[in-house]
Symmetry: C3
Subunit: 161 residues, 3 copies
């Protein structure tokens, strides 16, 4: 019961965290994204198809917070791509406490993409597999795996999903 009530208390905070990260991306406040992660926090984007088969290929694979920051810097300064923005819908956030005090979190996502010169279209749907920890009194991502449903490789995946 202690675990259950702890989970209830933390559920809303975890939901707020996931929505806050989505909002930072939607608002184009990408420089804020690394701060959602621990220093050793990882961020990976891969297809469900590959993940289920244990295939290693990932579209994005950042193994610490510095790499996430580098990626943001690159898309601001180096990458060439048509300007666009995202809109996140996140549903069914499920929080499970782990023995080490962290939380395993699953949720479904849908991302709309709008090109500055073009319509809004469905860009990606899939699942977030997160490990959340309490660090200095705040919740942070130690791990985020974005499993997208489609098997095809996106030709334009610049902004983190």
């Amino acid at each position: 019961m202690a675990v259950a009530s702890l989970t209830k208390a933390i559920q809303r905070e975890v939901e707020d965290l996931l929505h806050a990260l989505a909002r930072a991306i939607d608002d184009d406040r990408l420089e804020a994204v690394p701060d959602f992660f621990t220093a050793d926090g990882t961020y990976k984007v891969m297809s469900r198809f590959n993940q289920r088969r244990g295939l290693p290929l990932a579209q994005i694979n950042c193994t610490n917070r510095g790499m996430i920051a580098d990626r943001i810097a690159a898309l601001r300064e180096a990458n060439v791509y048509p300007s666009h923005c995202y809109r996140h819908i996140v549903s069914g956030i499920m929080v499970t406490p782990a023995p080490d005090g962290s939380f395993t979190v699953r949720s479904n996502y849908l991302v709309m993409r709008t090109l500055d010169e073009g319509p809004s279209t469905l860009f990606s749907s899939g699942e977030y597999l997160d490990r959340i920890v309490v660090e200095d009194g705040a919740l942070r991502f130690r791990e985020r795996v974005v499993l997208f449903d489609s098997k095809s490789i996106e030709t334009l995946l610049v902004i983190p999903i």
Copy 2:
């Protein structure tokens, strides 16, 4: 107020139940679906168009849990169709207590479908009309009606929405 606070307490549990069922389907754990229902639990999929006019035609009409299990068995063993999976988004879950101790629940859904050989597309949007009961200390569906928005009959409706 007693009813109001009971509803508040149950709201989160009902939300968890709806998301858990959606997740079982998205995970392709379809054999777990019947256990979300009472033995006399019903599951129906029909168009909003027909429902509003009192027309009886339904795409799926299971009148007890055994029929739901049969349908799952059929799609595993008998039906021939291109392999695909779903991704559910559920929004706006509204819980209303009924005099008999059950709960009337309405929510909006959106289901993306991804063919193993193909992209993710919007498959169906609509509304869930549920009646939830407490049975042996757990919440279960006594009735689920899936009202899809489109009038057209889906040519490929194999997996429960």
Copy 3:
């Protein structure tokens, strides 16, 4: 902490309010829409593109509740358009208390549109920027700004988003 716990308590009520308004529209109970607003409540629909640049053009701009009611009456009695309905998905509702006792609320939305003679398609995605106040013990909208992601002007925007 007092502010924080007040916010926690109000969070669920605000969510219920936003979902209830979405449901009224999805149910085609449009005559109920004005009652969600205060007498001086405003309702505006504009592109994110224009809003960010401070450009004034809005697709819909109702500056009080009477104008919202007028607009509903017009679409019932005067406007000519193909019959259709909406389905709302609302995600990531974030509530921030303001010094004057009102609440600033942000959320993401996605609206599917189904023509009576046609399929369901993605109609609009974007963000709701709301100001909610307590009036006579109930929550009401003093302001709603619907910022849609796409730059293009919708040719058929009849029903409020």
